[in-house]
Amino acid sequence: MSAAEATGPRPLSSRQVTWRRRRASAGRTWRQFRQHAPGVIGLVVLVFFALVAIFAPLIADSTGLSRTQSTGQVLAAPTSQYWLGTDEFGRPVLTLLIWGARVSLLVGLLATLISMVLGTLIGIASGFLGGRIGGLLYRLTEWFLVIPFLPLALVLATLLGGSLYTIGFVIGVTSWPGTALLIRSQTLSIKARPYMERARVLGAGNWHQMSKHVLPNVMPMVFANTTLTVAGAILAETTLSFLGFGDPSRVSWGTMLDSAFSNGALTLGAWWFLFPPGICVVLVVLSFTLVGQALEEIFNPRLRQR
């Protein structure tokens, strides 16, 4: 754009310099992260679950998910054949758990992607632009913040139907305002910095300022916030599924808990159906939270002093 030309063409080496600088800063972040024990533990757990989700087809045969071809007894206690017992259709709970990791993580990541993109864009725009557009965006953010998340998500899920992708979409479009507010306040403080003043004086346009100066500066915060958002999104998926608004054709940890609850796992003492999915949710969400907090501490200088 014209704004980019105004600062004059840059030699290629300058980009290389930038990359080198970024690589160096990434290395620095990693070194700091490694010293943060809870963060590292969280990361290890996450890597474990990610591997399980990716290699699910190799670990557990997908025929174990079929309602029609199941071989086990109905809601049978754990045995050497079924390590975590079976569900109400005689399917092995362990298989469901492994494949459920896929759906839960996928929905969490999808929702986070949507939420981060929306949140970052709207946050930067509303913070930077000011005026009527900025005000309107701020009002929009506030409205989404005011409408209670769960009922709104339930309405949208009813409207769009319960498929994996719509659930991810629904969680994404309802969970961005937190990020947007955070990014907005960051943007406001960056906007007030002296070098932005210089850029403006040199004739940099809005687009240039936002993409070249604001965005790179808020990126670390976005990154730290992402992991926290994933945690929230996975919790949200579990809750939606538990209330019966999930994707009924796929197994996720949430739908497992839903069927445990609605088939009377409590009455039947089927703890193997009720506890493992919940524990997995807690572990994954906890790990994302720990990693997120570690990153936040590294990226947020105010927090780092402590």
Binding site: S66, R67, T68, Q69, S70, V74, L75, E88, F89, T158, G161, G162, G244, F245, D247, P248, S249, S259, F261, S262, N263, G264, A265, L266, T267, L268
Partner: protein, 618 residues
């Protein structure tokens, strides 16, 4: 100095809170135990029903949920009664006898004398005629009940003991009149405009005026607790229960726990697995009762825009072909569905008439519903649905069929399972398909828009087959019909049976219609439903199932079991009241333990904090 006072205050506050919680807990436990055991002796024991759905209206002209029908059955009387054996109408309600004129156009009912409303006013034939006329003259009242008075032209009460129905043409469904009779002296003040929002709930401590065995004293539509108190002067005899309470639980699990804990006496709608596990419990009887209903896989037989007659929606050409649908009848394994998808709580179904209604049942050939994929494949081949190069069948014109859309309802586990099975059976006969799960309310719209190939749902069937048969007539398309089935010959037979006044003649026509539905296959019936019910047999006895044997125990036609059931004679056993006190003591002990534990933890951490803070300062 401050420091010390601070610490003391904190300790005191902590102990105070702990003491308060402990006291409240003990008090609470004794209070509940108290409530369990000391009801006034003459009031009669309370029978508590747990269920998983709310009453949606106590106004008989508004509600549609089964729970509401049950509430009305307690509050009001009906003109006719139902047999326990097969729910056929019989005298024993407000009408003691009835007769039909030769031409079938006049029905005369003799009404019981000496029946009074709960406010002392006499219940006469006038009240009955009033109730029926409210329905007959249209408006909101006719929405629920209008179909029972089809072809009725006038309803009169020439005297207090007689009700006369005049008909345009004979109506075979009479005397099936399941409408609750409401008091004219109360309802005359409720205008047609207001009836839509008239709640018919107790107000100002005054129970709702009714004539049934119980009176509604507490409850709101959509609420979670409803209380009905015995009508001591009930004309058919005083009920043995002093009070009937209904409690709504949000899940079957909580429901069953409440039954096991003795908080409720009867659990309605228990899952099959729970029934099995409860059958081992002492003091509890659990069963799967036959309910007069069926589930089916329905096809889009041909959705059309009713105004223009043009095709509507986007049904797959395959399902529009009678031979295609009929062939699939042999591709589905009903037995496997009943054992796996329904966990054994269902009976493989033939057609739309449940087994209890024997006279109407069509004696189908032995292999009419056999699972025979080879036969299905052969029939499909013969009909021109040949297997194409990609291994899937094509339409007779050679175009690919594509994927059939199988609609399941997200709010029904069995419907989801049924479609999962159906998808695999279709694959066996080389037909590709995909399961689409939507909310019931959304599926209704999809059906009315004709945007489906097949779906899984079910119907509840009344003691008279007329209404379920009517759902397949052309006139019901866009209304009750969900398969868009339309066959002029079927319509002719429907009219014929509806005006037939001779039972055997009518039964013969109905069987002909059932054969027609079998051949045209708008529905593939899957199973007849069963409903899981469980009750405290250590406290209550005398349940009569409907249909008898094998039927459901409550939520029947009529209110017979609320008069049949009586408390078990406690003089022989008599341990249950002792349990309450034991329970209370155990509770108290347990709570004190927890409080001490938590209190100890808090104090411990506080002490730790004190130590730490001392360290910190030095």
């Amino acid at each position: 100095m401050t420091q010390v006072r601070d610490g003391l205050a904190r300790t005191a506050a902590g102990l105070g809170v702990a003491a308060f919680v402990l006291a409240a807990a003990l008090w609470g436990s004794t209070a509940t135990a108290h409530a369990d055991t000391t009801a006034p002796p003459d009031a009669g024991p309370t029978f508590t029903i747990g269920m998983t759905n709310e009453v949606d209206s106590f106004n008989p002209f508004n509600g549609i949920e089964a729970e509401s029908y049950e509430a009305w059955a307690l509050m009001y009387d009906y003109m006719i009664n139902y047999s326990a054996k097969d729910m056929s109408p019989q005298p024993g309600g407000l009408a003691t006898s009835w007769k039909q004129s030769e031409d079938g156009l006049t029905w005369t009912f003799d009404i019981r004398t000496g029946v009074t409303w709960s406010d002392g006013v006499a219940l006469t034939a006038k009240d009955i005629a009033y109730t029926y006329n409210r329905i007959l003259d249209g408006g909101p009242e006719s929405a629920t009940w209008g179909s029972y008075l089809l072809s009725v032209t006038s309803i009169t009460a020439p005297d207090d003991q007689t009700v006369v129905l005049e008909l345009k043409r004979p109506n075979a469904t009479l005397p099936l009149l399941p409408m609750p009779i409401v008091p004219e002296h109360i309802w005359k003040d409720v205008s047609e405009k207001d009836v839509k929002t008239y709640s018919n709930e107790p107000s100002g401590g005054q129970p709702v005026v009714g004539s049934g065995p119980f009176q509604l004293v507490e409850g709101k539509a959509g609420g979670s607790t409803y209380r009905f108190v015995r009508n001591p002067d009930y004309w058919a005899g005083e009920p043995h229960m002093g009070e009937v309470d209904m409690q709504v639980y949000r899940s079957e699990d909580t429901l069953v726990q409440a039954l096991k804990a003795g908080e409720i006496d009867f659990a309605e709608g228990v899952t099959p697995l729970q029934v099995k596990s409860l059958q081992g419990e002492s003091g509890i009887t659990a069963q799967e009762g036959d309910s007069p209903g069926f589930d089916e896989i329905a096809f889009n037989v041909g959705s059309v825009d009713l105004k223009t007659g043009k095709p509507l929606g986007d049904p797959n050409p395959a399902v529009l072909d009678r031979r295609f649908r009929f062939a699939l009848n042999f591709a589905i394994n009903r037995q496997q569905l009943a054992t796996k998808a329904y966990q054994g709580a269902a009976i493989p179904a033939g057609n739309i008439i449940p087994p209890a209604y024997k006279p109407w049942q069509w004696d189908s050939p032995a292999d009419a519903y056999a699972y025979d994929p080879a036969k299905a494949r052969q029939l499909l081949d013969e009909a021109g649905f040949k297997v194409g190069g990609d291994g899937w069948r094509t339409l007779p014109n050679g175009d690919p069929i594509g994927k059939l859309r199988l609609f399941a309802r997200t709010d029904s586990e069995t419907s989801l399972s049924t479609m999962a099975f159906f998808k695999e059976w279709l694959k066996d006969v080389q037909v590709d398909s995909t399961v689409v799960a939507v909310e019931s309310s959304k599926l209704t719209n999809i059906i009315l828009d004709g945007e489906f190939d097949t779906f899984s749902w079910g119907w509840y069937v009344e003691p008279d087959p007329d209404s379920i048969l009517s759902y397949f007539t052309c006139a019901q398309r866009g209304g009750w019909s969900d398969s868009w089935y339309c066959n002029p010959e079927y319509d002719r037979l429907y009219k014929e049976q509806n005006s037939s006044t001779v039972d055997t003649e009518r039964q013969a026509i109905v069987k002909q219609m059932l054969q027609m539905l079998y051949d045209d296959a708008p529905y593939l019936n899957t199973v007849y439903n069963q409903i899981g019910e469980a009750y405290r047999s250590d406290r209550w006895e005398g349940f009569v199932p409907q249909p008898d044997p094998g039927g459901i125990l409550l939520f029947q036609y009529g209110h017979a079991n609320y008069l049949n059931v009586r408390p078990v004679d406690l003089s022989s056993g008599g341990s249950s009241s002792g349990n309450g006190i034991d329970g209370a003591q155990v509770i108290a002990l347990g709570v004190s333990g927890i409080v001490l534990f938590i209190g100890g933890g808090l104090l411990g951490s506080w002490a730790g904090y004190r130590r730490a803070s001392v360290d910190f300062r030095e």
